[in-house]
Amino acid sequence: MTTELGSGDADFGFLVPVSDSPTLDETVEYAAREAREVAAETDEHVDLFLVAPITPDGPPGVTDRDDVDHLLERAAAVATDTLEMTDPEGSVDVRTAMPELARYPPNPVEYVDAIVAVADEREIETVIVDPDHRMPVETPIGRSIETELRDIRGFDLEMAPVERPARKGRLVTRGGLAQFLSVAGLSFGFYLVLGGFGDVMFDLVTGGVTALLVAGVLSRITFEQTPQPTRVVTTAWRWLLYVPYLLWKIVTANVQIAYVVLHPSLPIDPTMERFEAGVWGGTATTTLANSITLTPGTLTVDVRNREFVVHSLTSGSREDLLDGGLERAVRFVFYGRSAMRYPSPRERLAVNTEANASDGGAETETGTGNAAAGDDDGTAGESS
């Protein structure tokens, strides 16, 4: 690592993304020692950047400026303490940065963008990541800040060797009465359905005990956010609209597949497509990915943050995918009616269309959504 840094730059830099995690102090200590070592080896001045993006418009208590400020101060104090013991000449400077994110809720890509911007400004190439780093945003399945930084942005990335108390965070959310009751209710209902309604008293009692046990063990990892009754109801209502649409799409898909498969000359033209989906968050991404798999000639192969890799069987299905009818439907389910006005993947990719508009399906706004939309109600992502 040190050799790669040994180019002729005047200043070397290390960057540490800071979040509230149990292993933050250890990470900062490690980064400080690394920075000091490089400074000693190369006789150069080294900057140690502690970076924590904030969202000014966020609801209070989530990513407050004060909270983050406090967190950075603490981290800086740890770094300075570590350096004082080992670095009397003061060849390492500890700096902090609080880049502002445009809107709340930020998506993971924007979050990493903000960190990368700081790094680029100072030409920093080495990032030291806390293994338990937590982005203040929902992340889709299994992709973390380290994947994003190393594999996609190409940073020289190091994981701080910390002793982790347990694999906390990520999976475990704050428990609460709402979570507990929802899980208990759901498992109770499930129990009754499976058990039938034979011996009512017995079922109720055993079901109740089981439900409480399940809720006690699992209520903390079941939900991404605290369920709010009003939200649940509106989302459930939208789901009711979405499911028939999806079923219809599934039937069309299958007729198409049946035609292709049974056709003597097997008229297929498979390709891999990459596109950035207009949804984020675990459930929404999963829904879109699964819906894509189930519908006309398309199959989700890989998902990294918002980047979908989709295998499509025929050119017609490719067109359909880029028209974005499904994506619009999923946006409707999760973000509401206003979010449906969002440029389709085709417009975002600026792919030159062959004006081969296949069937419009059942959605209301089949035509190309207007390209100027994309900034409504804060849920829209960046339009590239």
Binding site: N254, A258, V261, L266, T286, T293, L299, H311, L313
Partner: protein
């Protein structure tokens, strides 16, 4: 009433069987793993849904029908997820998709 039910069951079973059959033919005929996954995930899901619908109709209004619905919902969620997992495993191992032009 009974006749309608029987006709519906028959239609559902036959169409379900048809799509299951399409899935199998697809898995044999299509040239590579990704395209086979298409056939497997889509046709087989619909085949399963139709067959389960037939079973649901047979049971009529009953707790068993709720179970059938649960089963259908479960397959609707797991089957594309499994297909995705398999395709992604292949993709991670850098298995190249077949394209028009290369034979076999």
């Amino acid at each position: 009433m009974v006749e309608y039910g029987t006709v519906a069951v028959g239609a559902l079973v036959v169409s379900g069987l048809f799509f299951t059959f399409v899935a199998v033919v697809g898995i044999y005929r299509l040239p590579d793993l990704y395209t086979r996954t298409h056939a497997a995930s889509k046709s087989d899901t619909l085949g399963a849904l139709l067959a389960l619908a037939a079973v649901g109709v047979t049971f009529g209004v009953d707790t068993a029908t709720i179970k059938v619905a649960l089963l259908a919902l479960f397959m609707l969620i797991t089957s594309p997820t499994a297909a995705h997992a398999i395709a992604r495993a292949a993709h991670d191992q850098d298995i190249e998709p077949w394209q028009r032009g290369d034979e076999s």
